[in-house]
Each structure stands twice: as structure tokens, then as C-alpha cells.
Subunit: 139 residues, 6 copies
């Protein structure tokens, strides 16, 4: 049976800042530059969730896209969209809000519920800007 990869794109608009609480203001500014601005900045984040599985013979679907989209929204988008990544997001509590860490945490949130839809999470890609993005495959 053929194995097909399916990708759903979602997006969210959030504020954050990059500040290491163990460092002085000068050290934070030296390392993080304008990303350490104490009054925050923000992004339109793009999120690509890729799953893999065998198309269902009755529907031709690896997974019902409506179900997948609803799951992504209730599990992660509703908690990230129009929020502050450093202050408002339960699954980011105590975690530095780099795009890398965000992708790892989104993977943790989605892996189990996606397997319950009958397919397998393959990767989480998050773009912070048009020029910068990260991808995590669960390894």
C-alpha cells in the first residue's frame, strides 16, 4: 500500500522576545540584538504540519483534512494565535521562545493526537519570517 505525505498549513500571529533570564541586559542585547527588546516584538508565524499514512480505500484520504485542521487549531493554534509566546502559552512555560524550541513543543503537542486520527506525524515546520524557518522530525 502506497505511503503518502500530506501537509497542512496554518498560521498564527504572536508576540515574543528572546531574553535569557540568567544573563545581564547587556549580554542579552549582545547575543539577541533587537530580538531582546524588553517591550516585545512579534511575527506572523507559518506552521506546516506534515503527516504520513496509507490512503483510506473508501475516501482516498491519508487523513480527513477537516479533522486534521480542527485538531491542529484546538491543540496548538488556539493557544498560540494572538498570544505572547513567553507569557500566555501553557506548553511554552519555562521554555525559551526560539523558533527551534517552538517547533519541538508543537511536535510534542501534536504527535499523540495525530496518531489517534490514524496517521503518523512526520514533521513540524515553522517560519518566523520569509527568510527564516526551522523543521523538526521528532529525532
Amino acid at each position: 500500500m502506497p505511503l503518502v505525505y500530506l501537509t497542512r498549513k496554518e498560521q498564527f500571529n504572536a508576540a515574543h522576545k528572546l531574553v535569557n533570564p540568567n544573563w545581564s541586559d547587556q549580554e542579552n542585547e549582545r547575543v539577541f540584538g533587537p530580538c531582546a527588546n524588553k517591550n516585545w516584538h512579534g511575527h506572523n508565524y507559518g506552521l506546516w504540519v506534515t503527516v504520513k499514512g496509507h490512503p483510506n480505500p473508501d475516501t482516498g484520504f491519508v487523513v480527513d483534512l477537516k479533522q486534521l485542521s480542527t485538531l491542529i487549531r484546538s491543540t496548538v493554534i488556539d493557544k498560540l494565535d494572538h498570544k505572547n509566546l513567553n507569557m500566555d502559552v501553557p506548553f511554552m512555560e519555562g521554555i525559551f521562545s526560539s523558533t527551534e524550541n517552538l517547533a519541538i513543543q508543537v511536535w510534542q503537542q501534536l504527535q499523540m493526537p495525530i496518531s489517534e486520527l490514524g496517521c503518523t506525524l512526520h514533521s513540524i515546520r515553522i517560519a518566523e519570517t520569509e527568510r527564516n524557518s526551522v523543521e523538526y522530525f521528532g529525532d
Copy 2:
């Protein structure tokens, strides 16, 4: 000798609907929602064909892009563009027109002729909308 992957993007505009002929209208509408509209709907589909191979020392090409594009057009695009996926496409006959199945069938059509150009088909990616796409690697 280095192995390089080359991707060519094509596109086609087609009509289709998602209806399982073994199901009642209600069941089709419950599962497929507006995609089951009996009078059809349609998309601008994007198709990305990725091949791999060793660059030819005389041309620097994995494959001549003009030849690859001509092959993709004659083999699949001419049969899909401005067509009805459920009614007009020989290689989709009797096959449910999900994007997943479409990617698998496009792979079947292209694998052999692409190998005759001297390179290897690596993947078929099809985007139905900006937010939904599938990819198939032949496994």
C-alpha cells in the same frame, strides 16, 4: 559523482468532486462536505516533479529542463488541464479523485518515461490549495 535533485513546477486547472458511489448522498455529504457538491467544483493544482541524477559533464544538467517539461506536459498536464478529474482523465478512471490518489497516479505515469531521459523520478508533490498539499515518493 555528485547526486543532484531537480524540481520542475507545472500547473493545471481542473474540476472534480469527492463522491463514493457506494455511499448514500447523506453519507457522502457527511464525510466530504462541500467537496461532494454534485455539480462539481475545481482548483488550480500545482504539480512539482522532482528527479535526481548526476550532472552530465557536457551540459551540467541532471536532465534537459525543456525535455523534462515537454515530457511532463505530454504525459500528464495535457490530460489534466481544463479537464474533469472524474470524467476526462484516462489514468484516473475508476479511481477516487483525492489529491493523494492523483499524486500516486501521476507517479505511475511519469516514472518510466523519466527514467528514459537518464534520471530517476524522486517525488511527486501536488498542491490543491495554498494550504493543502501531498507528496509521494513511490513507496
Copy 3:
């Protein structure tokens, strides 16, 4: 008071064909080419609605984007998305489904309800593909 233009983008996926019922099949195919395919084809249409008005001093808004988006969806998108432009759309009945005519009819549907939101419809732009689009200003 400053006059600001605000644009909201929506989209819809629809089937259609271009056939003049007063013409022979040959004439239709000569003029419309593959767009006359009797079994339909389709597109992901992009719709840009531009309104103009004075920002409200209490909100800074020309119009509440949530209200505008809800209005566009209920007035036109719900009637166009996952539909057949030639068969399913009340406001396109008896009207040739060119993108030009579609833009004119969408303008007719939206002009009055948008003025009831307290701003003025400025233009309707519809893109059929990445390369082809039309714009109508109500003249």
C-alpha cells in the same frame, strides 16, 4: 479627516466552463479553446474587496475586519465556494461565467451591504490564475 483604503482577501474554489449557448460546439471551441470543455474545469479564485472610509476615532478602523469578512462570506463566498459558477450561483444565473462578469456581479452583491457597514466599496479584484486577474470599480 483622512481617507484610507482597506483590502480584504478571500478565496473560493469553483468549477465552470465558457460556452455561448447560441454558438455551435465548433465555434465555442474555436473561441474558448480548452475553457469550453463540456465536462467543466475549475480554479482557486482569489477575491480582493477594497473599501474606503475615514478611520473611526474610537477604534482606528475604516471598518471592523471581522464584520467585513463575515459579510463577504455570507453574501458571496458561501454562494461561490465549492460550487459550479454556471449552475449553482443565484447571482450568476443567465450570466456568462467570465472573470469579468463575475467581478461585476460580486460588486452588485456587495455594494449595498458594505455601505451599511459605514464605508464605501471601492473595487472588486478577482484572480483566476496567478497570471490572469480583473478589477472592477463600479463604473
Copy 4:
């Protein structure tokens, strides 16, 4: 002498929230929804600055793009990028941070210095998301 319009795109990443200080929390949430989140959210804003003028016979330029870009950056981008629109931006002080108001203020900042480059500011367009944008022509 021909009149040509030239557009330069810049971008900036900023945090903001929409809260009317004369209103209760409930009223703010009712009107602005998630945009009123007290811990902020943010966007990758796109800024398009369009100027008009006659091409200089010696250079073929309406304006030197390097000079225009440097001016836009020093006058507005450096004050908006990686900032909080409600707290950090001198020219937004006391002004509600809707995209409409932002476009008007960016116009005010740029009109005079652009005229000193020998061309005329024609419009300011700001996109908050892929679906929402505003344009201001100085009227």
C-alpha cells in the same frame, strides 16, 4: 516628460494590541476580540512606499533606490522593527495602533523627506497579514 511610479517594499516585525483606554476590558474584548490580548501579539508587517516623478535623464531613475531605501529605513523602519507599536514608537505616541492609523503616520513621517529626494510620495500601503492591508494616498 513621462511620469513614472516606483514602489519599494520594506518590512518590519512588531508587537501591538488594540485597546481603547476609555473602555472597559469587556468592551475592548467585545470589539477587538483576540487583538485586545493584554500581553500583546505581533505581526510581520509589509510596507510598500510608492513615489512618483520624472526619470532623471542621466540615470533613468525616478529616485535612487539606495537613497530611498536608506531614507525609509532611517525614518520609519528603524523605529518600528522589533518594537512595540503602543510603547516604543515616537510617532505613534497617543495614537491607536490600527493598521489604518499606522499608514497615516508613516505617510506623515515620509512625505517631506521624500520630496527632498526630488520625487513625490504617492501612497503608503501596509499589510498586517496576507489577507488584510490598507493604503493611504495623503487625502
Copy 5:
């Protein structure tokens, strides 16, 4: 009768350099920077041709897009694509290859033949990069 604007996008890949033959090398480099590189550089140029007219009652078209595209290709694209703007293009002979001047010359080439298709040329927009574009309305 309604007046509708229709835009067709084409593109071309060309080499050029910006050098004023009346200036010294130093002066050219001071004004044009890397664009004056004597061995050329190049771009994927985007060209948007906007025409206006009344939809034909028989077709719903302001103009047949296939005819318009064929005209644009034979009149300008075939002369610009995979060419050197300073050396190979008859209608750019003796004209400084700024994007501004290119837009004016493309207008000159297209205005008359487009009127012979039964519609009116409204504007020529050319993008040199994602961030820089010009538009000319014939004034």
C-alpha cells in the same frame, strides 16, 4: 456598459548593467554601485500589462486572453527574454536600461497593437526584484 480592467502577467529573464557612457568608471560606480559591474548582472523581470474595456456580450471578455498573451509575447517578451537589455533589444537602443525607462518603452511598443484588439492599454508594471517595481500609465 461596465468598464473592467484586466491584467496579464508575463515574465522574462535578462541581463543588463547601468552605466552612463558620459561618465568615468568611478562616477558610474559611485552612482550605480554593483549595478555598474562591467560584466553585467541580470534579473527575472515580472511584467504586468493592464488593459481596460467593456466586456463583449458574446464572450464576457474585455479581450481574449490568448490573443493578448500572444501579442505581448510577440511584441515585447520575445525581444527581452534571455537577452541583454543594453545590447540585444531594438526598442531599448540608445536608452538607459533602468526599470523606469524599460516600462516606458514597453508601453510604446504595446499601446497601438493593444488598441487594435479592441481595448485600451491602462498601465505597464515591471518588477526587477521582489522589492522594487515601477508602473507607467502613459502620462
Copy 6:
């Protein structure tokens, strides 16, 4: 420790032509078509550099994007941007300027310096146009 992939996009505008010096003009034109135009043509090339590594516990970064971007610019972009790939680029000397060969050479330039930043080069992707791109993984 999780392994995360990070992609940085850069771009450059360059001229080139495809001509095999061992072939006659006719043979070059037969194989390369308009790409063999003796007066050059050019492109806006997109370059995507993907690295992989473990996020640093102090910063959450696989690599500091500012350092990565500075490295890519000084090592390859400054040598490619506004240049002629056949005449001006030291690391392309004597190498046929196909996109495939360009990707291989960019890999050679970046692999070592990127490893000195504490992460591993994963792939080089270069797009010559919206429809044509190549990717090289170092094998």
C-alpha cells in the same frame, strides 16, 4: 537532544550563459536554446541554506541566524550578487554555470565554515526561476 533543521533564504542577481566551449555555435544553440545567447541573460536566484544541529540550551538556537547570514553573505553572496557567473566568480572558474553545478560549488564553499559555527550543512537549494530549482545534499 533534539535535532532541528534551520533554513536561511538569501538571494542574488546575476548574469550568465550556457555555452560549451568545445561545441560549435549551432550545437550550443541546439542544446541550450536561448540560454546560449552570446550577450548573456540573467536571473534573480534564490538560495536556501539548510543546516542541522542541537539547539543551544542558553539561546534555543541551532545557530545564531545573524552569524549564519553574515557567513553566507561573505562566503558566497558577495561573490555572486550583481556578477557574471561565467566571468566574475572565483569558485565557478572553469565550471559550467548550470544551476546544478552552482549548487555543488556553493556547498563546497559553505560546508567547512558552517561546521565552524557549530552546526552541520544539510542542503543547498537554488531556484533559477519560480518553476526551476535544484537541491544538493553533499552526496
